[in-house]
């Protein structure tokens, strides 16, 4: 393995405009991989203080007027923005016009519903976007209302897709000489990740209803002695799981036969409730790895800060903040150069522009 690989995006200029979670997360990854990211400070900061500590390290933050913004845009290789459709154009930065001037430019726009179509102008928040993406209909108990997944997943997914699309379009620009204007819709980020349920709905016209923590007994989450733990067993892993549980009834055909088993799911769930309930998360994880059964435990971010595997793999970056040193998820994967960043105060754009000469 090579020692400290170089930064893949060294020297690439990225302009972040809008500054919500989506654009800020995409640009954070680009900054970590070496890009020179300039974040145009929004008039009203929408990030919470904790989000800012996570999403802003490694970026230069600037206050820019319209003329300075235009100059920054002319100097950028990649622009990532998450304002409503048309806002960039209203500020004199119509992406299509910018692309006409400079074919190698990559613009990535992230909006709830995309740049066109009947809902393009509709506002959204994390939960309303999550609802329109379909995942929410599958999440939570069927006896209760659908449940939004924790954090701000719809907004982060937009950023994740934007980051991937940005570097892919940039690679295209390097190879073919032409960038693109990428139109990321939060709804579309999610509508294409509905596992088997999306294709089932499309192919059979059959709707799948949220199933809480138990898609079935062997694909579920259970209370255990010190929290919650889960199992996801494919058919090939069922024998190992059953022998681990050690209940002789599990040898009977109603549990062994994959076609019979669904008819006895409640009974099987009861056995798993009992088995999980007597064991701790650590015991269950150890049993899972030893017997090659997919078992997991619900852990909090606080617990993960001390996770030996994450520490050994150097997952966390540290960031100095006025409230002390924060530890945040760092490089998303190993194998390419990554640079942890520090938090910086906003500066006038005039300080940046001399180093950001217009790109030809």
């Amino acid at each position: 393995m090579e020692a400290s690989p170089s930064l893949p995006l060294d020297g690439v200029r990225v302009l972040e405009i809008g500054g919500g979670i989506s654009a800020a997360f995409a640009a954070r990854w680009l900054a970590g991989f070496g890009a020179d990211v300039v974040r145009v400070e929004p008039d009203v900061e929408s990030l919470s203080p904790d989000e800012a500590v996570y999403l802003l390290p490694g970026k230069r933050r600037v206050r820019a007027d319209a003329a300075e913004l235009a100059a920054l845009a002319r100097a950028a290789d990649i622009i990532i923005e998450d304002g409503p459709p048309g806002v960039l154009a209203a500020r004199g930065l119509d992406p299509a016009a910018l692309r006409d001037e400079r074919p190698a430019l990559v613009v990535v726009s992230i909006t709830p519903f995309g740049q066109d179509g009947p809902y393009a102008a509709c506002p959204a928040t994390n939960i309303t976007a999550f609802a329109m993406g379909g995942i929410m209909s599958l999440t939570g108990m069927h006896q209760r209302e659908p449940l939004v997944t924790g954090g701000s997943q719809a907004l982060y997914l937009g950023g994740l897709d934007a980051a991937g699309a940005a570097v892919t379009a940039y690679f295209g620009a390097l190879v073919h000489g032409e960038g693109d204007w990428v139109d990321i819709s939060l709804q579309e980020c999610m509508a294409g990740m509905l596992e088997l349920y999306g294709p089932r709905g499309a192919y059979e016209g059959a709707v799948s209803i949220r199933s809480g923590n138990h898609v079935r007994a062997l694909w579920g989450l259970y209370p255990c002695a010190d929290g919650y733990a889960g199992v996801c067993a494919l058919e090939r892993q069922v024998p190992a799981l059953f022998s681990l549980i050690g209940d002789p009834e599990l040898d009977e055909p109603r549990f062994r036969d994959p076609l019979e088993r669904p008819n006895h799911d409640d009974e099987l769930q009861a056995k798993l409730y009992a088995w999980f309930g007597e064991r701790t998360k650590a015991e269950l994880l150890e049993l899972g790895v030893r017997h090659r059964v997919p078992i997991g435990a619900v852990v909090t971010p606080l617990e993960l800060l001390d996770n030996p595997a994450l520490l050994e793999r150097g997952f966390f970056d540290t960031v100095d903040t006025p409230a002390g040193q924060a530890r945040i998820p760092g490089r998303p994967f190993l194998g390419l150069g990554w640079r942890p960043g520090a938090l910086a105060d906003p500066v006038p754009a005039a300080q940046i522009l001399p180093r950001w000469s217009p790109r030809p």
């Binding site: 179509g117 599958l138 449940l147 982060y156 690679f171 295209g172 209803i209 996801c232 997991g296 993960l304």
Partner: protein, 406 residues
Amino acid sequence: MKRLPLEGIRVADLTMMWAGPYATRILAEMGAEVIKIESPRAWDNIRTLIPLPGVDEPWNSSYYFNDYNRDKKSLTLDLAHPLGRETFLRLVPHCDVVIENYRADVLDNLRLGYDVLRQARPDIILVSMAGYGKTGAERSHVGFGPIIEQMSGLASMTGYGDDGVPFKTGISYGDPVAGKAAAAAVALALIARRRTGRGACIDLAQREVLSSLIGEAFVAASLRGERPVHRGNRDPRWFAQGVYRCAGEEQWLAVTFRTRGEWERAAALLGIDPALPGGPADHDLIDARMSAALADRDPQDVFELLAGAGIPAGRVLDTVTIHEDPHLAARRYWVELPHPRMHPWKQPRTAWRLREADPWPRRHAPLFGEHNDEILRGLLGLTGEQVEELRREGVIGNAPVNPGVG
């Protein structure tokens, strides 16, 4: 026609299940030639996970498999057989990328680790996407999406709040999230290769990618020792929000009132009393009044009413209604591709909508071993006799050996 960004890139795809195939579906749609490699003895499980009843060759007729593997080519190779391994190593020099989502030790056990691949092609890019990565104390753990979600910290943040129970997301959420990140890793490694001439060995842990989507929770934990609080569908940054049942079978609407003003405007539009006594019970009152007002109303009508007034709203689109959404239709989001064994169905395009290059799914998922001849004879130049030997030895095939359920 404008070229796609990954035109000219060839990918040897060893991935199975969902996370890896999700990544390579994106790569294929971005223009890469993706060669999906399966063994007749160890095929992609997704092919046979939920067989359609009464069809011939169920492994070729799965909507689950076909949705996530379109635009790819299918080559069968048993990598555990010496001839399969040798043939694979003849393919590697023709490829820019090898991608796999085996358990951490499998590729090395097949004697196909990065150092071996690099001998076959010095600038090869290897992307591995094991659940917990290739190194570290948890590398031997086995996990699928929901397990990854539990181990990432995310599941601890999801819950109704009144019962203390953490919840899983209704899909194997860790999989496509890792898939999107792996596709991004490929592009970054290609950029790096173009600059340095060197390949890369990417070690992506699915759990770590998912933890990256809750970064602020790590800030709260490390600065203040905070544990997640289950807030159900509420969000303290807004005045109020919730999910309310509407008319129809399991039809729901999510609404956010970012400000008191939005609540009052919505109340006027819906004929609700906007007055609130002030205090912690206000949100419960809003929820009760919204529930009563929406119970008999059509979710699409209320969505359009509120969204048209600039108030964030979203139908909880289910796995059928999402395919009927007029907006996604207007966006040409769904495509129907002819398939030799199945009737057409609406498949999602990639979310990476390049407006100018306009990537478009080209072809249905390959039948098992469909491109064996094209790749073995056409690309690798094997003779008919050599291909026949591979077939005789069971290294390649046109059907899985002993396919059962799962």
